[in-house]
Amino acid sequence: MKDVQDGNSFRFYTQLYIVRLLGIKARNPEELLKAIKKVPPSSIYYHTHKFLQQHLYLSPEPPNDFGFWVSNVLNLKKLGEAITSIDTISFNDLEDLREEFVNILDEYERNKEFSVNCPEGQELHFMSCKTFVFPTKYVARNLDEFKKIVKKISINSLYFHIFEARLRKKIQGNDFSLWFEKIGKHVLAKEITKLDPYTITLEGLREKILALTERYG
């Protein structure tokens, strides 16, 4: 893949994915813990990121599949809240994120007073994804062009530059903040980096990026 930055221009990429079924399922927190320990990193990624994309119009967003399932299917509200509250944005390494889930579930297992299984048919099925990244026809040479493109670009492209970039480049910011830095828009870059995309719908995120660009651009 060529860099998204081409000189002073920003090339918009997009991504699509196909879901793989791993044939692993959990009925209770113990099985959830076992599975989280053994699934590939792409599965941790799928369950902590793809959920947003599939439900991008829902608000409030369920932040990860595990927390949503524990709270709403197992009805273990305290554990569900602990898993849901994991600050996904502070992790740019999936193994660290996995470890965080493991720690919470380990602690729960050590202290639990009772066992609970989900109703039949509502097991959590582990999946992963195979992602395809490719360039779009859009290139921004300045902030005005950037804003015009952000207004119309597909959600998948926003997703790629905001979420994927952090893990791909192991950075706290994203592709947009890096480009803003490069073209000398340091305050804008800082403000975009501060966004927590995990707590906003993707359409809401589009609006925020546009508003910040308008204000600090």
Binding site: L21, G23, K25, Q54, L58, P119, K130, F132, F134, S154
Partner: protein
């Protein structure tokens, strides 16, 4: 058949451009789809919609069917039922005959392609010839694989594991014993088909008049075959509980084969249970009543799908696509389509369904919001354009091993 560009006004130009881009990556590759029937049945219906669209975006997609006699199809029907969990014995001779017919087809068919996309168990054995035929082989399972009978699964898995990949319609269908990659591709609805396209109000009203349904009072609808597993009798109980408080009407509409004795039995029981209540409309629809179904769904205040078991339950997607609040059982593929209290309501009992039905009929703003969220969820995940995209990604996946593929 609609033009692929016609979908851009629904999903956006970018989505359609993506399909062209992906198809371009498959240039020079031919994809041969094989199933067991050209007409009738869900798989033939899907292929008859998908193959023209695959061709329109530029892939070299082909479709052929295997031939079999009555004995072969009676064995494959047994296999189908056994995969659904029904206890059925299939003898060694029957398995051998099943294999023999597949091998005969291998000799007689013109099997050429870069990707062999084999649908359902009937032609599964063709993969035996993969060394000679070369190419990539994918097995697409369209049926419920949740509780397959062990013997049949043991027989099939030996063949499935010879493929490069397999594809299932719901996460619960994934199997531990399958060693090749398993992909998830959910079914879809076609927003431009007669069953789902926009209808003018007059057309909807004409159909309501035809069935003597009052458009001014709330309409609660379940569209499904008259089958115990769809629980139409449970739906009547739900309605009766709610009717005590809210003056609503119930529409139970669906088709079914007139030569299906169980279907007729269920229909008669439903008629008996609704006897004397003119606000219950039992509509036995003839095949091809797609516009009627569309109008009934669009006229509904709330749509129910109180199934006891369900494959995927595309009637839920149809209703959500029309922005309708849906209350449905948490079975089969329904939880994939509804997130409880966000994009619909998931229930487990007659009492629960009655409770939420009252709530939605009394809180129309909340009901509307559920319907709107539901429509967006269907738009993002269960339209035919997503299905087409998944097929293109699946074919591309055959040529790339890595988890993240960069196409420049």
């Amino acid at each position: 058949m609609a033009d692929i560009r016609d979908y851009s006004r629904i999903v956006g130009h970018d989505r359609i451009d993506e399909l062209y881009f992906l198809a371009e990556q498959l240039k020079g590759k031919s994809i041969l789809n094989i199933n067991s029937t050209a007409v009738g049945g869900g798989v033939a219906e899907i292929l008859s919609r998908m193959i023209p669209l695959l061709k329109q975006v530029g892939t070299n997609a082909k479709w052929d069917v295997i031939k079999g006699d009555d004995r072969f199809f009676s064995i494959s029907k047994k296999m189908h039922n056994a995969l659904h969990g029904v206890q059925i014995d299939i003898s060694e001779e029957e398995y051998e005959y099943f294999i023999e017919i597949n091998r005969r087809n291998c000799e007689e068919m013109n099997l050429e392609g870069d990707i062999f996309f084999i649908h359902d168990p009937q032609p599964v054995i063709l993969v035996e010839r993969r060394k000679k035929l070369k190419g990539k082989w994918v097995w697409r399972c369209h049926i419920d694989f949740t509780t397959p009978q062990k013997d049949v699964m043991r027989f099939l898995k030996n063949y499935i594991n010879k493929y490069d990949a397999s594809v299932f319609s719901a996460p619960a269908f994934a199997r531990n014993e399958i060693r090749v990659p398993q992909y998830l591709i959910s079914p879809s609805i076609d927003p431009l088909s007669d069953k789902n396209r926009e209808l003018p109000t007059e057309a909807i009203n004409t159909i309501l008049e035809k069935f003597k349904i009052d458009e001014k009072r709330p309409i609660v609808t379940q569209i499904s075959r008259f089958d115990y597993l769809k629980d139409p009798l449970g739906v009547i109980k739900v309605y009766k509980k709610v009717k005590k408080y809210i003056d609503c009407q119930l529409v139970l509409a669906g088709g079914g084969a007139t030569d299906d004795p169980e279907g007729m039995k269920v229909l008669n029981e439903v008629k008996e249970a609704s006897y004397g209540d003119t606000d219950i409309h039992i509509l036995f629809l003839t095949p091809g009543s797609d516009i009627e179904i569309n109008a009934l769904q669009r006229a509904s205040s709330v749509v129910l799908q109180k199934s006891l078991r369900e494959g995927f339950g595309l009637t839920v997607a149809e209703a959500l696509w029309k922005g309708k609040p849906v209350i449905a059982s948490a079975v089969g593929g329904i939880p994939l389509q509804i997130t409880h209290k966000y994009s619909g309501i998931l229930t487990y009992s007659i009492d629960g369904t009655s409770h939420f039905l009252k709530e939605l009929l009394n809180n129309t703003d909340y009901a509307k919001r559920l319907g709107e969220n539901g429509r967006e969820h269907i738009k993002s995940n269960f339209l035919i354009t997503r299905h087409l995209r998944d097929y293109l990604l699946l074919f591309l996946s055959m040529f790339y091993q890595e988890d993240t593929v960069f196409l420049d």
